[in-house]
């Protein structure tokens, strides 16, 4: 359905806008996560159009969805978690060092070092 894809595009653009414009570092990490989720959902929603059952073999003859996007997106989800974990560790150390979560303030302080 086209409305699904339009919504997913909007979700991706929302994540990109948030990453660019928001000043709080933790909110930037949220936006990054939203971006990743949009792409993952896109693959899975599109791959499920050709069937209506989960791709687990059973005795009846049913139409299964495409398993390839699901296998690929398992990898993509894990990669997204890893990036979020590393980003949060960096945000923690930045907060410890500069006492602030505002990206402009941190860049100003870092350049004056």
């Amino acid at each position: 359905m086209m409305i699904n894809r339009i919504l997913l595009l909007c979700l991706f653009l929302l994540g990109f806008y948030g990453l660019m414009v928001l000043k709080n570092l933790v909110k930037k990490v949220f936006a990054l996560s939203i971006q990743n989720s949009a792409v993952i959902l896109l693959f899975i929603v599109e791959g499920s159009r050709i069937g209506d059952h989960a791709p687990i073999l059973s005795e009846d003859q049913v139409r299964y969805v495409d398993p390839i996007p699901q296998a690929l997106m398992l990898t993509a989800i894990v990669v997204g978690i890893c990036v979020t974990a590393l980003a949060l560790a960096l945000v923690y150390r930045l907060y410890q060092k500069y006492e602030s979560l505002n990206v402009e303030e941190i860049q100003r302080k870092a350049n004056n070092e």
Binding site: F12, F16, L19, M20, V21, L25, K28, L32, Q35, N36, A38, V39, L42, F43, E46, I68, P69, L72, T75, A76, V79, C82, V83, L86, A87, L90, V91, R93, L94, K97, Y98, V103, E104, I106, Q107, K109, A110, N111, E113
Partner: protein, 581 residues
């Protein structure tokens, strides 16, 4: 043991080295830890070099192509559903060359870090994981596998950049990570577009489908997906306009990591993308015109990057940031050669990439020694750095002469190869101006090494503590510097043989290094470039020059600016594809 297994073993060896480093972390005794670390690095960095020697005879005849994890090797070509029945790996001449470049740089930088850099087992483990990702990327022939390899490369390098412990390093790693993850999300959208239209993930499958495209909608869809993939790779390669993350990241990383980041990590994605694009281009199809346009834009971008980055480099105070901008400029040279897409051009691009890895590694490591000894990073205040030791000083000058393309050193040959490719076009002029800028900034850097004079003591920035430089000890530091310097010199002396080897492996008979290399004309050309470089340097240190460079230096790219540049890049390429169809 057939060559397919040897290739996969060579990819898995750095991984087992990393696993050994983790084991060493669990042990209590320091000596046993250090021993296992050394054994792990030997297994992961030096043994694969030996394996590469064994693979050379097989790969010089024809590329080795196979499917990993193929559960059903008897499936015929018609039934094989690419990307489903196994992951395609393609080990051709370019992979061999990239592996040689990667392992030599990584091994020597690791040796440097035994003296100077982080000593913890986590550092060695992440370093070996990064090397694993480099070999895996070099032979990958499947689109989603390329995504996974880029992600491993990325995560290892973000973590390693943050290892130096400084606040600036954390912010640099965070910006690098944000831009790179966005680029990878767009890469995935490109993979989505391609898989939806072609139904295949391996390069072979996509290439087979491409010969059958007919409709306009398919061409636009495939073209835009290719744009997504190209711009995502361009972020990692750091060309105009998406290079903004590189200066801070390479400047604040530990010195051994800066050498590997500048030397290998910005080049391997370029050649991996090249394998994808050139394989698809060789099947004649309706979409070839889109490829040619994208490659033209990349060539333009590479040439302009070479010039713009050198201008930025001339204005920097921070020594490592100056060298990082130089990396961007040199990768501009490599991209402008690579985008010509003929086998001779790819061989020339690889030669410059390899030689750049050697002399940039040398520069970063020797300058890093000076920074560690003096405690300052400012190019205007460090003086008399020759006191640090004979070997770092000689190493620095070998590196500086190589990057400025002086005759017996390796940079001369590779830059001559690139200039020969562009003979007669406007790119030749711009690249020559960039070379002048390179010479000028190397003169600026080498001022650090001259003894301090009376005028230096009168300047307000004079800090007597900085000038107390003690000679640096450290066996492995000196060994790594000597290895790089010897490689630079030998690369220069044997440049013709190297050119022939590169050409042979890429698949061409002609030697990219021009035959009349050491003629009087070229010596005259070098001397005139040197004179122009000196003039430019004198302009920069004069009063109007200082004003301009100060203005340029204080302009830092903001976080939002990085992403804005990324969207400008993708918009430019995308509208190019959309407007033609």
């Amino acid at each position: 043991m057939n060559s397919e297994n040897l290739i996969v073993i060579q990819i898995v060896l750095p991984l087992s080295g990393a696993a050994l480093c983790f084991v060493s972390k669990l042990l209590k005794s320091q000596t046993l830890q250090r021993l296992i670390d050394w054994f792990a690095a030997f297994l992961g960095l030096f043994v694969p070099l030996g394996l590469l020697f064994f693979l050379y005879p097989a790969v010089s005849q024809h590329p080795i192509q196979f499917y990993v994890g193929n559960q059903h090797p008897l499936i015929g070509i018609e039934l094989r559903f690419d990307g489903v029945s196994g992951i395609e790996l393609r080990f051709d001449g370019v992979s061999w060359l990239l592996n040689v470049m990667g392992f030599i740089t990584a091994a020597t930088s690791w040796l440097y870090s035994r003296t100077a850099g982080p000593h913890t087992p986590e550092f060695s483990a992440l370093f070996l994981i990064q090397t694993f990702a480099l070999t895996a990327t070099a032979s990958s022939a499947d689109l989603f596998n390329l995504f996974v390899c880029f992600e491993i490369l990325g995560i290892a390098s973000y973590a390693l950049t943050a290892f130096s412990g400084k606040g600036r390093a954390f912010m640099a790693a965070f910006s690098y990570m944000a831009v790179s993850s966005t680029a990878m999300a767009i890469f995935l959208i490109g993979v989505f577009g391609i898989y939806r239209i072609t139904g295949a993930l391996s390069y072979d499958g996509i290439a087979r489908y491409i010969t059958r495209i007919t409709t306009e909608a398919q061409i636009v869809g495939l073209g835009l997906s290719l744009v997504c993939i190209v711009i995502a790779t361009a972020v990692r390669v750091a060309i105009l306009p998406v290079y903004g993350w590189l200066p801070e990241a390479h400047a604040t990383a530990p010195h051994a990591i800066s050498a590997v980041l500048s030397g290998v990590l910005i080049k391997v994605p370029l050649f991996a993308l090249g394998r994808f694009l050139f394989l698809l281009m060789s099947n004649v199809s309706a979409i070839d015109i889109v490829f040619k346009e994208i490659l033209d834009v990349l060539k333009l971008s590479g040439t302009l990057t070479a010039l713009v980055a050198v201008i930025f480099a001339l204005s920097q105070r921070d020594v490592k940031r100056l060298l990082a901008y130089h990396s961007i400029s040199q990768i501009g040279y490599v991209v402008s050669a690579w985008a010509i897409a003929s086998p001779m051009a790819i061989a020339a691009a690889w030669m410059h990439a390899f030689y750049h890895a050697l002399f940039k590694g040398l520069l970063f490591l020797s300058v890093g020694t000076v920074i560690d000894a003096s405690g300052s990073k400012d190019v205007y205040t460090i003086r008399g750095a020759y006191k640090v030791g004979l070997i770092p000083t000689i190493a620095f000058f070998v590196g500086a002469l190589s990057i400025s393309a002086f005759p017996p050193f390796n940079g001369f040959a590779s830059k001559a190869a690139i200039f020969y490719l562009h003979k007669g076009s406007w790119e030749y002029i711009i690249l020559s101006i960039a070379s002048v800028g390179t010479i000028a900034s190397m003169i600026k850097l080498s001022r650090m090494f001259i003894p301090e004079g009376k005028s230096a003591k009168a300047r307000p920035e004079y800090n007597p503590n900085i000038l107390v430089l003690k000679p640096v000890t450290g066996f492995w530091l000196k060994v790594s510097l000597v290895i790089f310097a010897l490689a630079c010199v030998m690369g220069g002396l044997f440049s013709k043989e190297m050119g022939r080897l590169a050409g042979l492996l890429v698949g061409t008979e002609t030697n990219p290094v021009p035959t009349h290399l050491f003629t009087l004309n070229s010596i005259k050309g070098t001397l005139s470039l040197l004179a122009q470089g000196v003039l430019l340097y004198l302009f920069v240190i004069s009063l109007p020059g200082k004003y301009i460079t100060h203005k340029i230096e204080t302009r830092q790219p903001s976080f939002a600016g990085l992403l804005f540049a990324f969207s400008l890049g993708i918009g430019l390429l995308g509208t190019l594809v959309l407007l033609r169809h």
